[in-house]
């Protein structure tokens, strides 16, 4: 069997797990709950196997040594690794909190994303690395950054859920904040999905994808009509979420997820992600740059935005510990942190270096 078959098994398992998780929430039968967990675990193991097989395929091909052949070189591989981290994070949460309620939220996302990446034209071809990327520090840097991104994504999800549960008034700032954030976030995800389908570009490196393809089928379309329509659709989408946001609250409370638990999960995810991000994202990145180019810090846009992200999460932790911030205020900081994370990963390449390169022409 090759890696793509295992990925197929995983996506089926995750989607099946969602159905069983929902059944569990309806019937509250512990056997059903255990079944759901087992199916998720099977999906996870299968994905792990797929990851290892792809690693081996890359290793056999690239003649670069085992460590440097970790399959994290293009957008397709990095999204799969991200999903793997998410499921791992979820399984840990389920185990620690003895609560299966999140399963019904997480597994469909993972399953659909995997299936989606599969149909959007994944390519088995594996491209070897250029010299600057052949470094063990880079390997540690990329892996740890992704793990941190996954924890931040979890904190974002729980913070949004927290805000959804705790805000009542449609006109309050916090309600507006979470509905608009969620709306824009979902619109960006959908627009990226359309890009994948339109251009079949999952195998490009993240940089190449972002520069040449991101939002080209929607917001940045050459056709003015499609671009305008995309903005209009986003606005309408945000409005709908704002209008019917209370539905989400009902859904979450019906899954017996409490505010305290969401707050605690947001904090825990950040408390795990922050040191990993500091070490893997900032420090290992700096060490790699130092070894490759002789400069550990150059204030380039990517580094600067990583630092801004780091500041936001540092602020989250200090506000919580020293000022005792809780509730909506701190949840909004967590959401802001993830917005910065996304911008560090996508926006910097799209807007900043993109502008620079066009400006030069």
């Amino acid at each position: 069997m090759d890696s793509s078959q295992f990925f197929g098994i995983s996506s089926i398992a995750y989607i099946l797990a969602m159905v069983v998780y929902i059944a569990y929430l309806v019937f509250r039968n512990s056997m059903v709950g255990v079944t759901a967990t087992v199916i998720t675990a099977i999906g996870f193991l299968s994905q792990t196997a797929a990851f290892i097989i792809r690693w081996k395929e890359f290793y056999d091909m690239s003649q670069m040594g085992l460590l440097r052949s970790i399959p994290l070189t293009n957008l397709y591989e990095s999204l799969i690794f991200f999903i793997w981290c998410l499921i791992l994070g979820y399984l840990i949460i389920e185990w620690k909190y003895k609560n299966r309620s999140f399963g019904a939220f997480i597994t469909p996302i993972a399953g659909m994303a995997l299936a989606f990446i599969d149909i959007s034209g994944m390519d088995k071809s594996i491209h070897p690395l250029v010299p600057a990327l052949q470094s063990n520090w880079l390997l540690a840097h990329v892996t740890m950054s992704f793990i941190a991104y996954a924890t931040f994504a979890i904190s974002f999800a729980t913070a949004i859920m927290y805000l959804a549960v705790s805000t009542k008034d449609k006109k309050s700032g916090a309600y507006l904040f979470w509905t608009v954030s969620l709306g824009i976030f979902a619109a960006v995800l959908i627009a990226m999905g359309i890009d994948f389908l339109a251009f079949k570009v999952a195998v490009k490196s993240p940089e190449a994808f972002i520069k040449s393809y991101l939002f080209k089928a929607s917001f940045r379309s050459d056709s003015g009509f499609i671009a305008a329509f995309s903005y209009f659709a986003t606005a309408a989408f945000v409005f709908l979420i704002w209008r019917y946001g209370h539905g989400l609250k009902k859904l979450i409370t019906s899954f017996s997820i409490s505010e305290d638990m969401l707050d605690d999960l947001t904090y825990k995810s950040i408390a795990i992600g922050f040191p990993i991000f500091t070490l893997g994202g900032l420090i290992f990145g700096a060490i790699w740059a130092d070894q490759a180019w002789g400069k550990y810090w150059t204030w380039d846009p990517k580094e600067t935005w990583s630092l801004i992200t780091w500041f936001v999460y540092a602020f989250y932790l200090h506000a919580r510990f020293l000022r005792g911030w809780r509730g909506n205020k701190i949840a909004m900081v967590a959401v802001l942190g993830f917005v910065c994370t996304i911008f560090t990963y996508l926006g910097v390449n799209l807007l900043l270096s993109g502008l620079h390169s066009y400006g030069g022409q």
Binding site: A286, Q291, W299, L307, L355, H356
Partner: protein, 475 residues
């Protein structure tokens, strides 16, 4: 720092400002916001580039954009990470960090230097995490059971005798309370290292043609920096992944000459630099600049197996050993390719696929011509033997990044300490546990109280496990 006493001296007030978290937030925000401007405007760039950028971003005309850029430039935004005010922000950030830490340190040091003590009955009462067990054994035996259970959970217990009862008390991870301070200290170290590098080091570059050497590096706009020794490039080579133009490695063979003596030879690559007397040479770029003195290098093997290495300039000829056949270099392409109609052309300005065109002759009479491609051994075979095209030497230069940074070790030390500090701050906690044992009839009543400064949920589960372990084995 929050107490608002009146009649404070000026020093105290400044101290209060610098020890406040509000200042930290303001400085965080200012650094972030100004940095955003710095990531949008290209730093140290051609003004025209940034003017175009402003035109594109705000849709204004070229002239207004130019004057806006003028304002931004006078404020230092076009080279903001070196501007006085950004340095000042970083300095305030550092000062804030130091003073905040000093402000809170005594309290923490007190906590850290104070080992766990037995609890008084009143203190015991107010603990939030408590459990109660009755063990069907005498006090002495119960004490042993509890000590073993604590040991298993990683606690080494002290004992205090009270009238008619015993108290076991233990703690672990007391020093993890320092994690936050260690992390703050590491940030300071990194900043100090950066300042040392800024004042005592430099960043330069150097292009060296194969076969040449230099006693200096160049900084910024052509300023020479003496190295104190000479560095020579013996050779440079790019290797590619099979049948593609994806580079696999860039390699330079360098020699260090100190007082005219060869003291060091090293092959460097991206990610493996050369270091000598505190100066580091990194492989950063390369280029192609052919000249009259560039040498074509071949290994020639005759059909009878006679082998010879040879090197010659453009237009010169060599002999296939043991024969009367000569070959003359007629043409050279750094990157030869063929279009669909079979016409040859040069597709790149670097030596991506070097090829040499040889004219073979016997006793002065033209015999045949052939292209020999360095990367493709199947082209080396000719009628009269094998001609391996090894290199066109002296035509490529290596681009080196030259750096002296005596502060980098402080930065690295800071990074290591930060790793330790973060681990202690986020993944360790100060856990304390007290166990009171009182004999009642023939059994022993056990009261357990515990506290942890972090990760309370997991700690509670741990205590639960401990309680279960003492209850189950003898039942």
């Amino acid at each position: 720092m929050s107490d608002k006493k009146t009649g404070k001296g000026i020093v105290d007030r400044i101290w209060d400002v610098f020890s406040s978290i509000k200042l930290a937030v303001v400085v965080f925000s200012l650094i972030s916001l100004t940095s955003i401007v710095g990531t949008v405007l290209e730093q140290q760039a051609d003004p025209e580039k940034n003017t175009q950028l402003l035109v594109k971003m705000f849709g204004i005309g070229h002239d207004p954009a130019h004057s806006v850029l003028g304002v931004l430039e006078s404020l230092g935004f076009t080279d903001m990470y070196h501007s006085w005010w950004f340095m000042a922000l970083l300095f305030i950030f550092a000062a804030n960090l130091v003073i905040c830490s000093i402000d809170r340190l005594p309290r923490i040091l007190k906590a850290v230097n104070e080992p766990v003590k037995p609890l008084s009955p009143e203190q015991f009462k107010v603990m939030t995490l408590k459990r109660e067990v009755v063990l069907k054994e005498r006090l002495d035996s119960a004490k042993g059971t509890m000590e073993a259970a604590l040991q298993k959970a990683g606690f080494k217990a002290g004992v205090s005798q009270e009238d008619g009862s015993l108290q076991l008390y233990a703690e672990k991870g007391r020093y993890s309370r320092l994690g936050v301070y260690v992390t703050h200290l590491s940030i300071l170290l990194i900043l100090i290292g950066a300042v040392v590098g800024l004042f005592l080091g430099y960043n330069g570059s150097l292009n060296l043609l194969e076969g040449t050497s230099s006693p200096v590096a160049y900084m910024g706009k052509g300023i020479e920096v003496p190295l104190g020794f000479e560095i020579r490039c013996d050779d440079f080579d790019v290797s590619y992944y099979d049948n593609s133009d994806t580079p696999k490695s860039y390699r330079s063979w360098l020699t260090v000459l100190d007082n005219g003596r060869e003291v060091m030879k090293k092959e460097i690559e991206v990610n493996t630099p050369l270091k000598y007397k505190g100066i580091t040479f990194y492989q950063s770029s390369y280029g192609y600049s052919p000249n009259q003195d560039s040498l074509f290098r071949f290994t020639v093997t005759a059909n009878d197996g006679k082998k010879q290495d040879t090197q010659l300039k453009f237009g010169q000829a060599f002999e296939i050993p043991g024969t009367k056949v000569t070959a003359k270099v007629l043409d050279f392409s750094p990157a030869l390719s063929m279009d669909q109609s079979g016409k040859l052309f040069t597709y790149a300005e670097m030596m991506n696929n070097p090829a040499v065109f040889l004219e073979f002759a016997e006793e002065g009479k033209h015999k045949y011509n052939q292209w020999i491609l360095k990367r493709y051994p199947e082209t080396w075979r000719v009628q009269d033997g094998m001609v391996e095209f090894k290199d066109l030497w002296g035509a490529q230069y290596t681009g080196l990044q030259v750096r002296k940074d005596p502060g980098v070790w402080i930065v690295y030390l800071g990074c290591i300490i930060m790793g330790i500090g973060l681990y202690a701050a986020f993944f360790m906690s100060h856990a304390r546990i007290w166990v009171r044992l009182r004999e009642e009839k023939s059994s022993t009543r056990v009261d357990i109280a515990a506290s942890s400064n972090k990760n309370k949920l997991a700690f509670e589960q741990k205590i639960e496990k401990l309680v279960k372990s003492v209850m189950s084995p003898k039942s």
